[in-house]
């Protein structure tokens, strides 16, 4: 007997959002998760006895709409902003808070107002489209034409000047945009950061850096652990069943002369679970190549999946600290501390990674999540969590323990330059390369976005045409993960949009 309308593969945040929306609409939903906790990359887990952290250490732009539709506030979800702070070489720092650039020159602070106005105007115009299915080109459905019409109107609504500016800057390298507005390198690096992190982009790379900045201006800032806890509670409240420690081995299809249809999943040699539809929050390569099997798909399609750029460039450093780390010149490390003092520092770190090496001077985003959430560490102790860029998935010579230790030590050395006593405070540590993330979280390439957020892999090309409206080419199989529009990060939007599409 079939007990489920929908099986969702993966209890990452997108899987949970999708599951909850479908359950709220009356479906019987089963979520299968290979790990023992929910949240995927955002799962909070112990990395050293008594110390816990999540790879995705802060939700910078969780969708307000998703939070509202899921009723997350009832389950303990609260906003908490974490301002970006750029650490300078000599103890100075710049930060953005309440729409102001602090610690910068008068001229940069003034330019910031113009910059901020343009970026926020563009971000506001784009925001509705992160929350929508982007129709395939050539569709003549009224609803799809309406989406394109809406997009056109929104852009037109920017006004002649801003629309032209938007079109001009949309694919600019971050550096070009920054050079137009600012004089301080520290300011430029700080403001570029959200255009680059998680992607294979450096300040001089043209592509989607500006679009990533705009994407990351949507939504609300929230604390990872409470967000995932709220999502899990909302799912339970809606009647979603989650089975942990249950990796899916295969997506099962039935086939006859009327074609194929996904009919369930195999979770072990003995157990198959049937459902009307399967929705995968796994990345597109894992879903189509490993779980479904290319023989059920067209050759051109699978080759587009095979060509997706899925190699991650961000590693994760977790430090268990005996006390609160002290950063020179900073009253409190409560923020996103960016250790990228110059644009060239970012560029050079990327140059090394391009050729499969790790930089001698990695650039980092550091947070101390235990400041806001004391449950993450024993009393009086703290957790430092850092994204380390650029650490290539495809490391020359492979990821040996020596290679991992070497880049870990350099990452700590980078932090040490700003927090000189850090080494004395370290009680334990963990370093996860993209290859480790791939293995532990079953994400091809360990990529934050599952596949690059880039011009050729976004909107109706994400992950690729033929699967960009959350439907896969195989009836009954859907996608709802970061590899779908809009992209990764903790936004809930891919899961939300997929559920909306299923429920149409």
């Amino acid at each position: 007997m079939q007990n489920h309308d929908t099986i969702i593969i993966g209890a990452g945040h997108n899987g949970l959002v999708c599951a909850t929306l479908l359950a709220q609409a009356g479906q019987r939903v089963l979520v299968l998760e290979s790990n023992s906790t929910a949240g995927g990359l955002a799962a909070t887990r112990e990395f050293h006895p008594g110390f816990r952290a999540a790879v995705a250490h802060h939700a910078n732009h969780f969708s307000a709409r998703v939070a509202k539709e899921l009723g997350l506030a009832r389950h303990g979800y609260t906003q908490r902003s974490l301002p970006p702070i750029g650490l300078g070489n000599d103890g100075e720092h710049v930060s953005v808070a309440n729409g102001e650039l602090r610690g910068a020159s008068e001229s940069d602070a003034r330019s910031f107002q113009d910059y901020e106005r343009l970026m926020q105007t563009c971000a506001t115009a784009l925001e509705p489209f992160w929350q929508k299915t982007i129709p395939g080109i050539g569709s003549r459905k009224l609803r799809d034409l309406a989406t394109f019409g809406h997009l056109g109107l929104k852009l037109r609504g920017l006004g002649r000047q801003d629309m032209r500016e938007f079109l001009r800057i949309a694919s600019l390298p971050a550096r070009d945009l920054m050079d137009e507005y600012f004089e301080s390198d520290l300011v430029k690096a700080l403001l570029s950061w959200d255009g680059l992190i998680g992607s294979r982009l450096a300040p001089r790379s043209p592509n989607a850096a500006v679009l990533a900045m705009l994407y990351r201006r949507s939504g609300e800032s929230a604390d990872t652990r409470s967000l995932i806890a709220a999502l899990e509670a909302a799912a339970a409240d809606a009647g979603v069943e989650i089975r942990f420690d249950t990796p899916v081995a295969h997506i099962l299809v039935s086939g006859d002369d009327s074609g194929l249809r996904a009919k369930g999943v195999r979770v072990s040699a003995r157990e198959e679970i049937a459902a009307d539809r399967i929705i995968s929050s796994a990345d597109p390569k894992t879903t189509f190549v490993d779980l479904l099997g290319v023989e059920h798909l067209d050759i051109g399609f699978t080759n587009r999946i095979g060509r997706l750029r899925c190699n991650g460039y961000v590693a994760k450093l977790h430090l268990a600290l005996e006390g609160l780390p002290e950063f020179t010149g900073l009253d409190s490390p409560d923020g996103r501390l960016l250790i990228a003092p110059e644009m060239d520092a970012i560029e050079f770190a990327f140059d090394d990674a391009k050729y499969g090496r790790c930089s001698d001077n990695p650039v980092l985003e550091v947070t101390v999540p235990s400041i806001a959430d004391s449950s993450l560490a024993p009393d009086g102790k703290h957790v430092l969590s850092a994204h380390v860029m650029y650490v290539p998935y495809a490391h020359k010579g492979g990821w040996t323990d020596e290679a991992r230790d070497a880049i870990k030590d350099r990452a700590i050395a980078s932090i040490e330059r700003y927090a000189p006593r850090i080494r004395e405070q370290i009680a334990g540590s963990e370093f996860l390369t993209p290859a480790d993330l791939e293995r532990e979280y079953r994400i091809t390439g360990g990529h934050w976005h599952h596949t690059e957020f880039a011009m050729d892999q976004m909107l109706m090309m994400r992950p690729t045409y033929g699967a960009a409206q959350y439907r896969s080419p195989v009836p009954g199989l859907w996608l709802c993960g970061a590899g779908c529009h809009p992209a990764g990060d903790l936004t809930g939007l891919a899961g939300h949009n997929a559920a909306r599409e299923v429920l149409r």
Partner: protein, 400 residues
Amino acid sequence: MTTMTSDPYAGERLKETHFYEREAELNIRDAWSSWNGYLFADYYYDTEYEYFCIRNQCGTYDICPMQKYEITGRDAETMLDRMVTRDVTRIGLNRVAYTVWCTDQGRIIDDGTIFRLADDRFMLTCGSPCTAWLRKAAFGFRDVTITDLSDDLAALSLQGPTSCAVLKRMGLGGVETMKAFDIRHFPFHDGNLMVSRTGFTGDLGYELWIAPELALTMWDELYAAGEDYGIQPYGEAATNMARLEAGFIMPHMDFTEALKTVHLEHDQTPFELQLGWLVDFKKPHFSGRDALLEHKRRGPVWTLAKLDVEGNWPAEDAIMYNNEKCSHEIGYVTSAMWSPTVKANIALAMIRTESLKGELWAEIYKAKELRQYRRMAKCTLKKKPFWMPERARTTPPADV
């Protein structure tokens, strides 16, 4: 003084096939063209003479330049079955099947034959290099190995009513019991001679597959055995005549390979080429299935039609109209000739399907002593191949 020893055009020169040595002696007109980088006889002495050899005695046609791929491994069958439109699981051991493969859009990439040599070993042959598509088709399978045998397997087609007798005399015992599309292996000197009852002439015929080092030995024994049976080599021109009578399609003439087509819809679906019988929708999936289903539902916009053309002017390159006054174009001729065997003026033409019901007129141009003449010829649709002799399928073939 230094002497030039290296050939600056080495990489550009055409390669010699494994039978070149013998063929060069017989190619008294030096009428070479090329196929896939190999020197390749257009004709040896005279096209019509060679054509009549195929129809009345037997002839050999060098298919070394044809592309040959060995596909092996646990996933080989699944991989091929997903790539082509026919059901590969139903090709028996030591059997050959003709098939096409299509893009995701259901447009023909190429046609060719699949040989099943073991549960997990196949050979695919086709006219144009297919490595790139095969690699794409193999992506995602764990256990498939594709080996390009094109340069490393000699192949010779032996076609015509005396072909079986020649092979028997050559010592291939039991060859007469081979049915059409059968494969059989015969010990040959220190090696193996693989014979398939296949060909591109619509006549009784076989294709011989052998290691390069035994190629000339095989040629010599074949020609010795065939001496009393009128064996002759034939080239591309005679092949083209024979295949047109049989209603077989030729790439670059009757269809354009989809991956090489620039203009949208200058390529074809199997339905447009009347190859719908090759598309097995009983298979739950194969590459292009969804698109092909849609093409089938809508019906082909174009149809490659067989025409009997009034008069005796070959309708080569003719434009087709639905009336004698040429007021409305409905298509174009892709291949045409006067058929000596059928004694008819035959043609293949791509015609708008909706126009097949009406009158069909070919506008034919013909030069006589440099002066161009034009004639409108009424055409009649033919349903069956122009020529399809019993002997092509009879087993054992009649003694000659």
